[in-house]
Symmetry: C2
Subunit: 342 residues, 2 copies
DNA sequence: ATGAAAGCGCTAACAG
DNA sequence: CTGTTAGCGCTTTCAT
C-alpha cells in the first residue's frame, strides 16, 4: 500500500490547533456549528497552507455516499446518447459528482457491481429497452431513473417532449400541404401507442393507423437505409415522410435517392432530433431539434433528488423542441408523386 | 447515515465461524495463505448464502486503490471520441474497473478533484490539445496517459498508427493515378511535422510542403465545410483531396458540391477514420478505417500498467488501419480538372 | 492454519 | 464553543 502522502484532516487540525472534528465541521459547513470567526479562519488558513483536500473515499465509507453516479448506455449507440452523456457529465461536474459510464449488461449483475462499488444511483438509457428489460432495472436498492423513455415501471423517468415535437412536425407538414405523411420509425415504436406520432396525427387530423409506416431493425443509418428501401417501395402517393429519429433519416435519404425519388421535389423528409450533420446531407435535412443535453442534465438532477429522498416527478419535460427548417421539406404540389418505376 | 443493510465481512466471518481476516484472505485469494479446503469451503458457502459482496469503498480506503479511472474528453467532441470511450468502457468492465468521464476543464483543478475522489489514474484525450495544455496534465501524482496523440510530455501515450494509415491512403491514391493530392486537415495539424501526412508523402514521393493544404478551425462538419470552401477556391489542378479526419470530410463534400466540383469525377476524396455514415454520403466516402475502440481499450490497459508500476511503452500501435474503398475515389484521368467558374 | 489488533481518513453523536 | 470517542468495512502485519 502506497501512502498517498497527501495531508489529512489530522494535519490540518494540528496546524490550526483545533480538533479534527472541528475541521470536519468547518469543512462541511455544519449548520449547527457555532464557532468563532477567528477559529474558522485559522482552520481555513491551515487548509489553504497545506493544500488540503478531503479524502472522498474516507468520507464515503463514513457516510455511505460516494458522490458517484452511473449512466448505463446501450452497447450499440448513436449521437443522441452521446449528447445525453455530455449533458449528464456537465451537470455532474456542476454539482460535484462523478459520472461513471458503462455499456448495458445484465441488469442484476451490473446493479450489484454498482452497489458493491458504492455508486449512489444509476441512470439507465431506456430509449431502446423493452418493458421486460426495464423491469429488471427496477429491483434494486439503488435509485434508478429511466432516461429517454416514459414508463411507470420505475418510480422516476425523464423524457423529452415528443408530443410537442411531433405536433411541431405535423404543423410544419400541414403548412406545406402534406396531409398524410408516411412514417419511418425505430424498432421499439409501437404505432398507435407511440407518443412520437400522436402530436403529428392530432395536428393533421389523421389516425396513426391510416399512415403508411415502416419500422427499422436498428437505430443506425444502415437500419434507416434498409427500412427506407422498404418504405420507398411501399409509398402510395405520400408526399412526405416523417422520421422518428435522425440517424434513420440519413439512411433513408440514400434509399430514396437510389430509388430515384427526389427530395424534396417528390417527397419531403422531416426528422426528429437535430445534429450538425443535418446541415450537410443533400438536401440538408429539416429537423425538430430536441433538447437532448438538457435531458441528460435533468436526469442527473432527478437522480440526485431520488438519492436525497426528495420528490421525483414521474416524467420531466424539458425545453421545447424547435423546428429547424432546411431543404428537405417543400410545399406539396399537384405534380408531386412518389410513384416510380421499380 | 443510512445503514446499507448489506452483509459485511463480519457477517460472513460469524456465519462461517472464522475470523474476518481469514475471510479477507480467502476472498482476495491471498497467495501466501495456507488454509484447509474445508475452511475455505465454509467461507465460500457463507459468502454465497449471505450474498456477500465486498464494500469497495472500505477496500479503497484501506488500500488506496479505488478501482476508478477517469477519461477526460474535449468539450466539443465527435464520433471518434465516442468510439474511444466505448472501447475504454468495455475494457474497464472486462477488468473490473469503473470508468468516470468528464469534459476537459482546468487540468490542475480537475486532477486535484480526481486525487480527492480517489481516482487511480486518468486518460486524457489529447488529440486536440496543444503542448502547453498537455504539459499541464503532466504535473500530478496520478498516472496520466495521453490518448490519441504521441508525445513525450507524458511518460505514457497511446496513439493510432497514422503512419501506416496515411501510407495506405497514399498507396490508394497512387494506384488511381493521383500524384499530388490537396490536404484538408484539422486545426492542430502542423504540416510537415504531421505524422498523418508523412506516410502519404513518402508513398507519393512528394514533400508535404509542396501540397496545397488547408487547416480547419474545428473538428466538426461545419469546420470542414468552411475549410472546404477555402480549399476548393485554392485548388490548382489537384485531382484528389486527402482529409485527416472524417467529420471534416462530410463538410468538405458539401463545399465541393456547392462549388460545382463533382466527386469523384473532378476530384477524389479520401479520409482517415471510418464510420457508418461514410456509407450514406453522396457519393459514399472512401476511408481508412482506424481501430479506434481498440485504442480506447489499449489506453486503459496502459493506464493500469502505469498504476501498477509496470512498464508502459511510450507509444502503442494497435491493429492495422484498413482501406475501405467506396465511391468518392476514382482513377485520375486527363479530362479531370478542379478548376471551375466561381 | 487461524486469530488479534491496529488502523486507512473521515463524521457524528455526546460531553464538557 | 470545542474536544472525546466510537466506529464505517476492510486489509495486513504479527502472534499463536
Amino acid at each position: 500500500m502506497r501512502k498517498s502522502g497527501r495531508p489529512t484532516m489530522k494535519d490540518v487540525a494540528k496546524l490550526s490547533e483545533v480538533d479534527v472534528s472541528v475541521v470536519s465541521r468547518v469543512l462541511s459547513s455544519d449548520p449547527k456549528l457555532a464557532i468563532t470567526d477567528e477559529t474558522r479562519d485559522r482552520v481555513l488558513a491551515a487548509v489553504a497552507e497545506l493544500d488540503y483536500r478531503p479524502n472522498r473515499t474516507a468520507r464515503a465509507l463514513r457516510t455511505s455516499r460516494s458522490g458517484l453516479i452511473a449512466f448505463v448506455l446501450p452497447q450499440k449507440t448513436s449521437e443522441v446518447y452521446f449528447r445525453l452523456v455530455a449533458g449528464a457529465a456537465g451537470q455532474c461536474t456542476e454539482l460535484g459528482y462523478q459520472l461513471v459510464v458503462a455499456g448495458i449488461n445484465e441488469p442484476e449483475k451490473q446493479l450489484r457491481d454498482y452497489e458493491s462499488a458504492g455508486i449512489d444511483g444509476v441512470l439507465i438509457a431506456a430509449g431502446g429497452l423493452d418493458d421486460d428489460e426495464l423491469q429488471r432495472w427496477a429491483g434494486s436498492n439503488l435509485p434508478v431513473v429511466a432516461v429517454n423513455r416514459s414508463t411507470d415501471l420505475l418510480p422516476t423517468a425523464c423524457d423529452l417532449d415528443y408530443f410537442t415535437a411531433s405536433s411541431l412536425a405535423g404543423k410544419h407538414l400541414k403548412d406545406l400541404g402534406h396531409t398524410r405523411p408516411a412514417v419511418l420509425s425505430g424498432p421499439w415504436s409501437q404505432p398507435g401507442s407511440d407518443q412520437r406520432l400522436t402530436g403529428l396525427c392530432e395536428e393533421l387530423g389523421v389516425n396513426s393507423d391510416e399512415l403508411t409506416a415502416v419500422s427499422s431493425h436498428g437505430i443506425g443509418a444502415a437500419a434507416g437505409y434498409e427500412a427506407g428501401i422498404r418504405l420507398a417501395d411501399q409509398l402510395d402517393g405520400e408526399t412526405a415522410i416523417f422520421v422518428t429519429t435522425i440517424s434513420l433519416a440519413f439512411g433513408l435519404l440514400k434509399a430514396l435517392s437510389e430509388r430515384g425519388i427526389s427530395v424534396p421535389d417528390d417527397v419531403s423528409v422531416l426528422s426528429l432530433h437535430d445534429e450538425e450533420l443535418a446541415n450537410f446531407t443533400s438536401p440538408a435535412l429539416t429537423t425538430i431539434a430536441m433538447p437532448t443535453e438538457q435531458l441528460g442534465a435533468t436526469a442527473v438532477s432527478q437522480l440526485l433528488n431520488a438519492i436525497e429522498g426528495r420528490d421525483t416527478p414521474q416524467v420531466v419535460v424539458n425545453d421545447a423542441p424547435v423546428l429547424v427548417a432546411r431543404q428537405s421539406t417543400a410545399p406539396a404540389s399537384s405534380h408531386q408523386s412518389a410513384t416510380h418505376a421499380p
